[in-house]
């Protein structure tokens, strides 16, 4: 009998010793959520980027959404993320430059937000200065020309409410709030902002037909000698409609804003900005990193006859010496019709993305 007890004891030690999971390190797990990946994305591109240290959860997403729309994060409780990233504008700002809590104007147009989980290179903002969505969400709270808060103050504001501590406990297992949890939860919500139901998506799914102008516009978009938009903005097999890479697209001869170059310190990157997605252009005016173009027509005119040479101009810009590819008015109209077919009204009207 004694032998049996010893054997069981020793075997127990063996099992415990070999178990790599340390019970003491058991972590709180909120209710896991898997992103609903649109079939066109599933079939054609790599899965979204979900960091191991910030898995999606029901509670985390709900908290992130509440924080996104709550002005409590700004120093004077007047501005939320949604002030400059408005759902009805595909989460950008219709103003050329957003205005911070002190009335100070920014110097870049607010970036729209959708399908951000598919940014494989994980460089966010127009100049790529944030290396993850969590980092991206972290910055505006303390930016002096945006929310102009301090993290201790923002965290204290949240901690002093009756509402937030239990929500953080549900999402992260603790009522003691910190800045990391705030940015993690906002990043979780942002990853759920998926746009995949434009007319062109429905065309690819065989649900609708393109008009003649839209179909011609697609041809121009894919034609190297006319639009050649696809080398930076993707194609029907890349439903993101951006390469998420940085280019100088011939806007200026000299740079007052160096973009990526200011971040990397490499003069070869001067004047480069992230390619924006072409989805939802119907809702995201004005255009370019500095919002200089109020209409889509102006954007098309730029590539057609407005290109300006500078040392770092991207080699994909065609006929720079002539100002661009010289599209006819008919071609411009067709290209515009196609571009607008990439807009997704169901995205901006999705109640899950409203406060």
């Amino acid at each position: 009998m004694k032998r049996k007890v010893v054997v069981i004891l020793v075997l127990s030690i063996l099992v415990v010793a070999c178990n790599k999971e340390d019970a003491a390190e058991e972590e709180y797990l909120a209710t896991p959520v898997s992103l609903e990946i649109p079939p066109l994305f599933e079939e054609n591109i790599l899965p979204p980027v979900i960091p191991e240290d910030n898995p999606l959860s029901e509670e985390g997403i709900a908290l992130g959404k509440k924080l996104f729309f709550d002005p409590i994060l700004s120093a004077d409780n007047t501005q939320s993320c949604a002030t400059c990233h408005r759902p009805q504008n595909a989460f950008t700002d219709p103003r050329r430059f957003s205005i911070g809590i002190n009335g100070e104007e920014g110097f870049r147009n607010s970036m729209p937000i959708y399908n951000a989980a598919w940014n494989y290179g994980e460089k966010f903002f127009w100049d790529g200065r944030a290396g993850s969505l969590e980092e991206q969400a972290f910055e505006p709270i303390t930016n002096p020309i945006e929310m102009n808060n301090t993290w201790p103050n923002a965290v204290a504001s949240l901690q002093n409410t009756n509402v937030y501590p239990p929500l953080f406990e549900s999402a992260f297992g603790t009522k003691t709030i910190d800045s990391t949890m705030v940015s993690k939860s906002i990043a979780q919500f942002v990853r759920t902002l998926i746009s995949s139901n434009s007319k062109f998506d429905r065309y690819l799914r065989g649900e609708v037909a393109l008009t003649e102008a839209e179909a011609n516009g697609l041809d121009i978009f894919l034609d190297e000698s006319r639009g050649d938009c696809f080398h930076c903005h993707g194609n029907p097999l890349n439903p993101l409609w951006t390469d998420n890479i940085f280019h100088n697209n011939g806007l200026d001869e000299f740079f007052t804003d160096k973009g990526l170059g200011a971040v990397t310190g490499d003069p070869r990157d001067d004047g480069k900005f992230k390619t924006p997605s072409l989805r939802n252009l119907a809702f995201t005016a004005p255009y370019m990193h500095d919002g200089r173009f109020e209409t889509l027509d102006e954007v098309i005119d730029h590539y057609s006859e407005g290109l300006v040479y500078s040392e770092t101009i991207d080699p994909l810009m065609k006929k720079v010496g002539e100002g661009g590819v010289q599209l006819s008015e008919e071609e411009k109209a067709a290209l515009k019709a196609f571009l607008l077919s990439l807009s997704d009204p169901s995205f901006i009207n999705n109640p899950d993305f409203r406060p």
């Binding site: 054609n44 894919l222 993707g234 080699p315």
Partner: protein
Amino acid sequence: MKFFKVLMLCLGLAMLTGCNSDDDAGTTPQEVNVVFTFSHYWDGSQIQNSDFDQTSYVNAHGETLTLSKLVYLISDITFTAQDGTVYSAEDYNLVNVREGQNLSFTPNVLLPEGAYTVSFTFGFDDEDNSGNYPDLNSADGGWNVPDMLGGGYHYMRMEGKYLAAGTTDEVNFQYHTIRANKHTTLPPGPDTLELLEDTSFEVNLGEINITAETGIEIDMNVAEWFKNPNTWDLTQYYTVLMPNYEAQILMYQNGKNGVFGLGATTVP
């Protein structure tokens, strides 16, 4: 008592070995992987990140150029044994020289040590080009080729700026290689495609003795894309080369004549 001592000893040993996650059988593996590395030159000068947009090169036709991008696809690395047995994972690797991505690649194939003729394909052959590859669709904004140009995937995107002899205005060039496609009329449209020609090509690196952890360097001499057998006139062929059937054939001919070669073979 003896029983307990023996039991404890056995279980102690079992615990030590059972908890060791490194499985070392202590024998030389019968089959080995081969690691490939990719190096790039302009004739004798190695091309590094710092050379992009900085270093000027003169091509065989006399244009002075700088490179901004050099990304290319290789596939089907194949090992043919002396008895004719073929080993190939039929996988692929997209090399981004400027970004330093995928400069090392280990095909997913194990092969017995021995002498092999080693070869690979530049680009995708027609069989591979018919597939849908989410990782390539996601790369560089979409590595795939629009359907109206025949579909499939780019083989290479080499881009930069050049100065024609005696001029001072830089001109952008896009030296993109894809499957040659001929059209009834240009610009291409959904109904203009009349001929597709597989312009991927095989590169034979010769016979190499493969042992455990053999490393093989593949060299690309970029200057050769402009040199042999066709002296490349960049002032004529600098843009819109994808739907240019003649240009694709010329690129194919230059590509398979001395662009790639065997670099160092290492055995650690």
